[in-house]
């Protein structure tokens, strides 16, 4: 007679608490614990961030511009920013109808600046993501694998660090090696010229994390590289990456302004840099069209400043030594 098959132990049964015994630690439970812990530490970070006046001011200003950029298509009269359809008076100082005056095509400068935030911030954020992705991967790979990989990757990083970013950007922008459309090209150019600084920082942090005993222990337990990097190295390198990312945004926005001013920005697009360029080309300086070139510059300062303030607050959270004792 065949034996009755054993009932298949399902997961819930396995993990159901047995009287008097503590819950067995399963992968799910460990995962839940890890996430709970991350949420708690994020909550603590946020609480400390909130205390920083610098950080909150920065966050508010940045938030304002992000909202501005996102709502721009809906709040701006698009006819007022296209040369063909703009119907304002030419090069007129601010009036009630045109709070920031008009430009050489009769376009509403305020609308231009608001709409320009879209492209400027888009380029700023996207280029930053690109630079961080490249920089972090290079940095972690170099620091983690060490040896020859490190030598090669560090050499590449150093080469990019040494090259003056703007001439490299000009070369890449004019040659357009990947035949990208203007917008994509400028994002790529900024990413390529900015990743090296991050890579260096991330590599240093990876090296210090690698030395820590829990990494050694995990390795002794037989963890593979992927596991070690994603579970141990990455979470401890992320704080440095975050703080650096924030600063990168400012650099990317300033880079876009510079490149657009030189005429390398995306063609036929409204960005803060192109407004600066057009105002300069049309004699805003000698003729004194201050309403035309001041606002975009101020907008750039505000965004870059807000980002640095946030970065400062973040740095103080992640680097307790810098905090006031």
């Amino acid at each position: 007679m065949s034996k009755m098959p054993e009932p298949i132990m399902t997961e819930p049964e396995l993990t159901a608490p047995v009287m008097g015994e503590p819950d067995p630690v399963t992968p799910e439970r460990a995962n839940r614990l890890a996430w709970a812990r991350r949420r708690r530490s994020l909550a603590t970070y946020w609480k400390t961030f909130r205390k920083s006046r610098q950080g909150m001011v920065g966050l508010c200003i940045l938030g304002f511009f992000v909202v501005l950029a996102l709502t721009a298509p809906y709040i701006v009269d698009l006819t007022q920013i296209a040369p063909a359809t703009a119907d304002g008076p030419i090069l007129h100082p601010p009036t009630a109808g045109y709070p920031l005056g008009t430009d050489n095509f009769g376009r509403n400068v305020l609308s231009m600046v608001v709409y320009g935030s879209r492209i400027s911030l888009l380029i700023g954020f996207t280029a930053t993501v690109g630079a961080m992705a490249i920089g972090s991967s290079m940095g972690i790979a170099a620091g983690y694998f060490g040896g020859r990989t490190d030598t090669i990757l560090s050499a590449i990083t150093n080469w990019f660090l040494v090259l003056p970013w703007i001439v490299l950007a000009i070369v890449l922008a004019t040659v357009n090696p990947f035949h990208l459309p203007d917008l994509g090209n400028i994002i790529l150019v900024i990413a390529i010229t900015s990743w090296a600084g991050t890579a260096r920082l991330v590599r240093a942090q990876t090296l210090s994390v690698k030395e820590r005993t829990y990494v050694e222990r995990s390795r002794a337990l037989g963890s593979g590289n992927w596991h070690l990097v994603t579970r141990h190295v990455l979470p401890n390198v992320m704080p440095v990456i975050y703080a650096n990312t924030v600063l990168m945004v400012a650099i990317a926005i300033l880079s876009e302004a510079a490149l657009s001013f030189l005429g390398l920005g995306p063609a036929n697009t409204v960005s803060w840099g192109t407004i600066l360029q057009e105002s300069y080309d049309n004699g805003a300086l000698t003729a004194g069209y201050w309403w035309w070139f001041l606002p975009p510059g101020i907008a750039i300062v505000l965004v870059a400043l807000s980002v640095t303030l946030c970065g400062y607050a973040l740095d103080e959270i992640l680097n307790p030594r810098l905090r006031d004792r």
Binding site: L163, P164, L262, L285, L305
Partner: protein, 322 residues
Amino acid sequence: MGARRYFFKKTMYALLTLLFVLSFNFVMFRVLPSDPIANLTRSQKLTRDDVAELRHSLGLDQPLPQQFVTYVKETFSLNLGRSILSGRSVWGEIKAALPATIALLSLGTLFATLLGIWVGIKGGWKRGSTFDTSSLFTSQVFWSMSEAWLGMVLIVVFGSILGWFPTGQWQTPGDATQIQRLADWGNHLFLPVLTLTLGYFGEYAIIMRSSLIEVKNDDFVLTARAKGVPDREVRKKHAVPNAFLPTFTLIFLSFGFVLGGAILIEVVFSWPGIGQLEFEAINNLDYPMIQGIFLLSSAAVIFFNLVADLLYSYMDPRIRES
């Protein structure tokens, strides 16, 4: 390792970096474009024979590796091609534009460094003081500005409105004595140099400040105080020399950024330097010029980094003698 080996190693590394730059340039301008000749001869009406001759003289009919060798040789002999825009040699044009840029860059970097370090030390030593908070904020504000915009603002305020300074160019045309000429130069230099100084002092100040704050907590500073050394001397002889080392490195590393700012400023002020050359090259897609400036500015930065490395090893006895 001895000083000599250190020097050798660093120089080799610099040369290797230069080689990388050359290769990169080669790839960008010779390998990638489908027809390099087209880039070089745009907007010029040339017969097929002319094109063929050009192709031959540039060595474009040779296999790539040989092209590269020729390219390197020509670069080192400063044969950087001819500008499409002016027809003159690239190196010639650059040489003519160098003095203006060197004047701007050296004075600007000098003042930015001096101001930045002074602000950073004073603020960092008395952290939280009124000077510290206000100077930190000021540094951050200036760092957040686009150099082009800052230049524009200064021109309008001091040039157009107040009329204190000229709004562009390097000199006023016409006859003048030596002294008048020098004064004229100074007059024209003032605003561009001011723009460069204001644009970059903030970064140096912030770096110096955090460096000093860290060093201030080191044990040997406590030892100095315990010995009865007055506060000013503790700062001058113990804290600053140690805080200055990492600042020094970072200052040199930022030279590439200062160069970028200088280019923007030259455009804004119609300054007859390399930046202006580059601007015109961009507007006219003058590839030989773009290449040439890329090469030379990279080489300059590499050179300065090498100098910085060697100077650093001299300043830090731990490296000097290890």
